[in-house]
Amino acid sequence: MAVSCKKPASYGELRVNICYSVNGKALITDSLCYCNEAGNEFLITEIQWFISKMELQDESDEWVAFEPRFFYIDTNIPESQTLGIDSIPVGKYKALRFVFGLDEDDNRTGLFTDPPESEMFWPDLLGGGYHYMKLNGKFLDAEGRLAPLAIHLGIGQNEDHSQFYQNYFTVELPIDFTITETSENQIDLTMIIDNWFRNPNLYDFNEYGSHIMQNQAAQQALKENGNDVFRIGKSTDNENNTTMENGNRFAEKFKNVMQKAAPKPHFWTWKSVKERMGSPVGTTENRQVV
């Protein structure tokens, strides 16, 4: 009988805290206080999205996968904002990666039968599976009216639905993180919402409209912008002042991105918006352009 001399691996737990920032501040829902680079003033009601296939890269460049395979995250469900991962081998890790949304291996109708995940279904006629993300809110349209905004990402299609496009993407972020045998290991993962709308593609709500499930050009633009949306750390106040816990540090390569000045948000009430209806709203004088 062979007896292994290898020391048994020890494991720790990791908690990934999901954060959201807009213009360098923590997200405030239902407040018409944001402006994107295209000059669209907007509010966000809720964000519902999937992360899948999360992995950590160890010092020997091996990617370590772990369960669960899918995380549903919903700003309406506070407990969904913390992703709990058990049984990660202790040690140092230098990168985190995950699939934003669900890839073609997983994204099949019927994967989730129970709410809230099942409420993310993406009709089979449009490619099937599930929304990667629903970002719902409102914006002031070109005529100054408060219009619905439903930025829903998922499988794209051509005009006659004869061809489908996978719009998920993989996010890879450098970290400097050590998993210990405690349950105190935590990192913050921030979605920088304004970055969905600016780099490399200027995303104008008036151009792409309030709904985009059947607009592959919009899906593609957001997919490309998505590469600059996620950060390790809280990424609020301004991006230089990102909070890092448990000894994590931003990678040097992101310093230039972080040093952009954060614009000052301003608040409008619905009453003030209604008063302004019928007259041009969002002129260059009163717009806060990022």
């Binding site: 009601t45 409420e119 449009l126 719902n136 409102k138 309030s210 709904h211």
Partner: protein
């Protein structure tokens, strides 16, 4: 020999003891197997303290249809659950019940996790039974009186014993039995279900209607009312759908959440059997499916509170042509489940 005598004595004593033991309670109910249709959620809302049993469902069915649930005799406003929940109308009223809000259907509620009623303010079916029995505008009964009344009947004590192990009737067991029966009301055999199961094809118009139903550029119904990936045909969530632009109803969703965001929001009802569930909307404003489709096509009103999913509101609605409206209606008609509407297991016993 003496030893044998002693053994016989001991055995005799044992037999006497056994024969003198009080009669055992033989309460052994039969578990009820809730159907699990294709694409339905795997997680149901059957509470741990009210598991479904054949006996409990049967008792609940009898109570559901029995005007003695009013706890009084005569014709003085006696009612049962079935007075307002008609099987042929999807256990909906099928007309104006004279209530502040229209009656909601009782279908597939075993998979509802978001409360009951248009604002979701009633947490469980058991609670809903209590609310309906005691409501002055519904059954208007006194629970103590109901219990006393049913206890005196010839039939109910035995049925309660079979269902719950005691001939003593309690109101909580009345609630539990009716809730069990309502959870047994499963609709999953419409033409659309058979299409999902690969057993039947939709017609060209029905298919065109389904495409409209499931596309943002079409009628855009699926976000709130499901489809192939959400076969309950509802998310069971709450939306302001642009029916009005002023909100004065003290019983909308905001009454439950306290959130200004939920002003004018109500539960999206299931569209299963929608063709037989008129009138429509929380206040029964529309009498026909055509009126409903016209509303979503060109009658949606914008407001601060309208849900972002109503993203066609800037055009007044989804702007369907007459042909598209007919196609959408054809699809909605495929959600009618005649098997359910005529299921003898759900009718008056």
């Amino acid at each position: 020999m003496k030893l044998n005598k002693n053994i016989a004595l001991v055995c005799g004593l044992f037999l006497v003891l056994v024969s003198c033991k009080p009669e055992q309670n033989h309460y052994v109910p039969t578990p009820y197997e809730l159907p699990q249709p294709v694409y339905f959620p795997s997680r149901n809302n059957i509470p741990a303290d009210n598991p479904m049993t054949e006996e409990g469902v049967a008792l609940g069915r009898k109570l559901f249809y029995d005007v003695r649930l009013s706890g009084r005799d005569g014709t003085d406003g006696i009612r049962s659950c079935a007075s307002c929940h008609h099987q042929e109308n999807n256990f909906d009223f099928g007309g104006s019940a004279g209530l502040h809000h229209s009656v909601m259907p009782l279908v597939n509620l075993a998979w509802n996790h978001t409360g009951l009623g248009w604002n979701g303010g009633v947490a469980t079916l058991e609670d809903m039974v209590f609310a309906a029995v005691t409501s002055p505008v519904e059954i208007n009964a006194d629970t103590n009186q109901v219990v006393k009344y049913l206890q005196k009947t010839d039939d109910y004590p035995e049925l309660f014993e079979k269902a719950f192990g005691s001939r003593e009737i309690t109101f909580i067991n009345i609630q539990r039995a009716i809730a069990q029966f309502v959870r047994s009301l499963v609709s999953a055999d419409s033409k659309f279900d058979r299409y999902l199961r690969g057993e039947e094809q939709l017609t060209e118009d029905e298919m065109a209607g389904y495409e409209l139903f499931c596309t943002e550029e079409g009628a855009d119904c699926f976000h709130c009312h499901g489809g192939g990936g959400l076969a309950l045909m509802t998310t069971n969530l709450f939306y302001n759908n642009g029916l009005d632009d002023e909100f004065k109803d003290p019983e909308d969703r905001s009454a439950v959440t306290g959130s200004h965001r939920d002003k004018g929001a109500y539960k999206a009802p299931t569209l299963r059997n929608i063709a037989v569930s008129a009138p429509y909307m929380h206040n029964g404003r529309f009498q026909t499916l055509d009126e409903v489709i016209d509303f979503y096509s060109e009658g949606v009103k914008n407001s601060e509170n309208i849900n972002p999913l109503m993203h066609h509101v800037m055009d007044g609605g989804v702007q369907l042509t007459d042909i598209e409206k007919a196609q959408l209606k054809a699809f909605l008609n495929t959600l009618t489940d005649e098997t359910f509407l005529n299921n003898p297991n759900h009718s008056k016993p």
